[in-house]
């Protein structure tokens, strides 16, 4: 992890192709490498294979939802350190809490303009690495408890 976010690899998980494509296009336009996944299962596979620096996780996903995928990622030592930004169109109360409990490091409500998402990614990646690591550890522990 470096303070320079240029070239950072982003795993973008969203089942809605238009949104995925839009963010992907804009993220690449903004200088990130983008890996895509359409559901939670794929997200797990991509995270293990492609070693992303950050994961953008839509929460309502087919096959395996974002919460479950996040819990598994945070429970796995190999992926636990990767910050996860939750993306959701559900604005109902409690969702952001649930996402944080599942181990998400940040939370973004859709609709979210591409440039706002980039701002959020830069913010999360720009945090001091030790703080991020601490956060990850705590989240992992929490996730275990939830399981």
């Amino acid at each position: 992890m470096t303070k320079n976010t240029e070239g950072a690899r982003v795993l973008l998980v969203d089942d809605y192709p238009d949104a995925r494509e839009m963010y992907s296009e804009y993220l690449e336009f903004s200088g990130f490498q983008v890996v895509e996944a359409a559901n939670g299962m794929e997200a797990l596979e991509r995270a293990l294979e492609d070693h992303p620096d950050i994961i953008l996780m839509d929460l309502s996903l087919p096959v395996m939802d974002g919460w479950e995928a996040t819990r598994r990622l945070k429970a796995d030592e190999r992926t636990a350190h990767i910050p996860i930004v939750a993306l959701t169109g559900h604005a109902l109360a409690g969702i952001s809490e649930g996402a944080k409990r599942a181990g998400c490091d940040a939370f973004v409500t859709k609709p979210c303009l591409p440039e706002d998402l980039v701002k959020e990614i830069r913010k999360v990646l720009g945090e001091p690495s030790h703080a991020a690591a601490k956060k990850v550890r705590r989240s992992a522990k929490h996730a275990k408890n939830v399981n």
């Binding site: 949104a19 839009m22 169109g89 109902l92 109360a93 609709p111």
Partner: protein, 734 residues
């Protein structure tokens, strides 16, 4: 106190017997014959040694036999007060038969009696014939000759002393006379001595008996002399009239007083005037000083030897007087009680008469002794009663009598029963409740039965009414129950409907949430791509294209706002917007809100001024909701203001209240509309071509959110002069 102190006094006037023994020698005649003289001397000496009459007489007869040769002799003496002479000594006769010989002094035909009375020695010769024997008294000498010599006389009273019967012997009568004289004197002396000591003893006994008797009398008895000096007094009298030196001064004073009172009462003058009379005498009781009232009975006793005395008997009448006073008092009380009883009885009659219920008092035999006026109407015949009425009264009487008879024979003290009477005036049936009670005297004897008759007609009528009322009431109750059941059913229905509504509402909320998600996903792409195009991601855009893309973007944002606000309202209504309390700085929040709307502010060309209290302490509430309200208020202010500016101020109010005000110089709101702006979907310009965007939900949401935070939103405004929206919030818990 001596048991018989009165004896001392009593002995005072008693005469003493004269002693005569010393004169004996002077009467002796000088004997001529020295032998005879010696014999006489011996007799006299023998006399000196003899103390009893019988002994002395026997000795004398022995001496006569020895000296005078008189073989047979008898000595008879008269015992004190007796009217006969009894043999006290015999010589020469069989003692047993001779001692039984006596002479009655009342038998004047007896020559021996004549001899005694005449005091003449009489000679009875030997009986010669029948005639002689008839003239001779019967004696132990029988037909043998004898002489009867009277034995001197008693010195005290001139009464015959005795008789000496001696067998006829040739002896000088001179000697016999001397002997009889000497013996007579001696025996007289002894007799008198015996009589005196006998008398003394008897008198002593009698006196003590007498004193016992008078002491046993509880009334004081006294004998006084004519000067009023006390001679004899019984115990009771002594306590009143004598006191020794040791007694208390009070007691002695009382005794002195009593003596004075008694003396004056017994004064010779008083006695002479009244003689044996009854008087009242008030004395003092020395024991306790109380008054004692006596009735004084005095009798003058004349005694030639002891002088005149007064015997007084005091009868205590204190008790009598008290008793008589009590009697009088009791009589008076009786009179008062009688008056009271009469008044009581009058009052009772009044009471009984004033009772509307018939009251009948019957005696132990069942006879009516008293009834009040209502009872009379039922049981007595008026003079103008018709035959029907008479029959009714008789029937009533019969019914009542049978009830009373039942009561009298039963052991019950009280009895309650029903009697079917009839009202004689109207003829209608009159069932009554009869309550009877026995009145029993102190001795448990039945004196009367009091019966109160209570007309049951009204009660029965009331009972009927009550029954009707009860029926009506139960009918009503049934109806109420039915209605209640209906209501319950409807309630249940309503409850189910409510649940269904709730479920529907939840479903609606869920639907809206889902829908908004579904709305937002495509909108997200639309806005995203528009933004990317405007940023030139796909190549530079300019002129009309850029302007048109801007229109797409702003309309998209508007649509997003509408969707968000509808979602907020439905969440608030469904109660699915929980509070998330945190402590935060109000100025920071205001700065954040301003920064978020910075693009709009820039576009509006208005100045937004912050007036923040730097010392405002952090508040504890839901930050997100406060922010939402402020965003709404500020965007509204910017939207409706064309000139001037907007000021946001935050200040601390008393009682831990924070006041946030958003003040603008915009178009303002008419007073009449100021309440309506908080209603749902309300914008003042309701026309389809309104000038201002927005759903009209903003202020409604703000007010609801403020309420959720225990705060409220108010507005002050004037058309054309701007508006000021104020949010007041509690600072939360310390």
């Amino acid at each position: 106190m001596a048991p018989q102190p009165a004896l001392l006094v009593a002995a005072a006037g008693r005469p003493r017997a004269r002693r005569s023994g010393a004169a004996l020698g002077t009467r002796l005649t000088v004997a001529s014959n020295p032998n005879r003289a010696a014999a006489r001397l011996r007799l006299l000496e023998g006399f000196l040694q003899r103390t009893s009459v019988a002994d002395c007489a026997q000795y004398a007869l022995g001496w006569l036999n020895e000296v005078g040769g008189v073989a047979r002799s008898l000595c008879l003496l008269r015992a004190g007060g007796e009217s006969s002479l009894y043999t006290v000594a015999v010589c020469g006769f069989p003692r047993a038969s001779a001692m039984a010989f006596s002479i009655s002094l009342e038998d004047w035909s007896n020559p021996l009696v004549t001899a005694i009375v005449n005091r003449r020695e009489t000679h009875f010769g030997a009986v010669q014939g029948v005639t002689d024997r008839r003239r001779r008294p019967a004696t132990p000498f029988e037909d043998a000759p004898f002489r009867a010599i009277p034995l001197g006389v008693s010195g005290f009273a001139d009464e015959p002393l005795g008789l000496l019967l001696v067998a006829d012997a040739t002896r000088s009568s001179n000697d016999d006379a001397w002997f009889a004289g000497a013996l007579g004197q001696k025996l007289d002396q002894l007799l008198r001595h015996e009589a005196i000591s006998d008398g003394d003893r008897r008198q002593g006994r009698e006196r003590s008996l007498l004193y016992s008797i008078i002491n046993a009398v509880t009334d004081p008895i006294l004998l006084t002399d004519t000067e009023g000096r006390l001679l004899i007094a019984n115990t009771r009298a002594l306590t009143l009239f004598t006191a020794s030196e040791e007694e208390s001064e009070g007691r002695r004073g009382a005794v002195r007083m009593n003596n004075m009172l008694l003396s004056s009462a017994l004064s010779s003058k008083a006695i002479e005037e009244i003689g044996a009379a009854r008087r009242e005498l008030l004395l003092v009781n020395p024991a306790d000083g109380s008054d004692l009232l006596f009735e004084l009975l005095s009798t003058v006793t004349e005694d030639p030897r002891h002088g005149t005395g007064v015997v007084s008997i005091l009868r205590n009448v204190s008790d009598l007087r008290r008793a008589s006073e009590e009697l009088e008092e009791n009589y008076r009380k009786l009179r008062v009680a009688e008056v009271q009883a009469r008044a009581e009885s009058d009052r009772l009659n009044l009471i009984i008469d004033s009772v509307a219920d018939p009251i009948v008092v019957t005696d132990a035999e069942g006879q009516t002794s008293l009834m009040n006026e209502p009872a009379e109407r039922l049981f007595t015949l008026s003079q103008r009663a018709s035959a029907v009425q008479q029959r009714l009264v008789q029937s009533n009487d019969a019914h009542f009598s049978s009830f009373i008879t039942g009561m009298l024979v039963s052991a019950d003290q009280r009895r309650v029963g029903e009697i079917g009477l009839s009202d004689p005036t109207t003829g209608e049936a009159m069932p009554v409740e009869a309550i009877a009670g026995k009145i029993v005297s102190e001795h448990g004897e039945l004196t009367a039965v009091v019966t109160i008759l209570h007309d049951r007609r009204e009660a029965i009528e009331k009972g009927k009414l009550y029954e009707q009322l009860k029926q009506a009431s139960s009918e009503l109750e049934r109806k109420v129950q039915a209605a209640t059941a209906d209501i319950a059913q409807q309630n249940e229905l309503l409850r189910r409907q409510a649940i269904e509504l709730e479920q529907a509402s939840l479903a609606k909320t869920q639907f809206l949430a889902n829908m908004s998600h579904e709305f937002r996903t495509p909108l997200n792409a639309m806005l995203g791509y528009t933004s990317m195009l405007l940023q030139g991601v796909a190549g530079p855009v300019e002129g009309a294209v850029k302007r048109q893309l801007g229109r797409i973007e702003s309309n998209g944002r508007h649509l997003l706002t509408i969707i968000n606000e509808i979602l907020d309202i439905s969440r608030i209504e469904a109660g699915r917007m929980p509070l998330q309390i945190s402590t935060f700085s109000v100025p920071d929040l205001v700065i954040e809100v301003k920064a978020e709307l910075e693009p709009i502010i820039l576009r509006s060309r208005l100045t937004v001024t912050l007036d923040l209290d730097k010392d405002l302490r952090p508040i504890a509430t839901d930050r997100q909701k406060v922010k939402q309200i402020l965003l709404n208020l500020l965007s509204n202010a910017l939207k409706f203001t064309h000139h001037g500016g907007v000021t946001i101020s935050a200040e601390r109010m008393p009682e831990r209240i924070v006041k946030l005000t958003v003040r603008d110089t915009g178009i303002g709101i008419a007073r009449g509309d100021q309440d309506r702006i908080f209603e749902d979907f309300r914008q003042l310009d309701n026309s389809p071509t309104r000038a201002y965007g927005g759903t009209g939900l903003g202020l409604s949401i703000c007010r609801r959110l403020a309420h959720m935070l225990d705060g409220h939103i108010t507005v002050e405004s004037k058309v054309g002069a701007g508006s000021a929206f104020t949010l007041t919030l509690p600072m939360g818990r310390r």
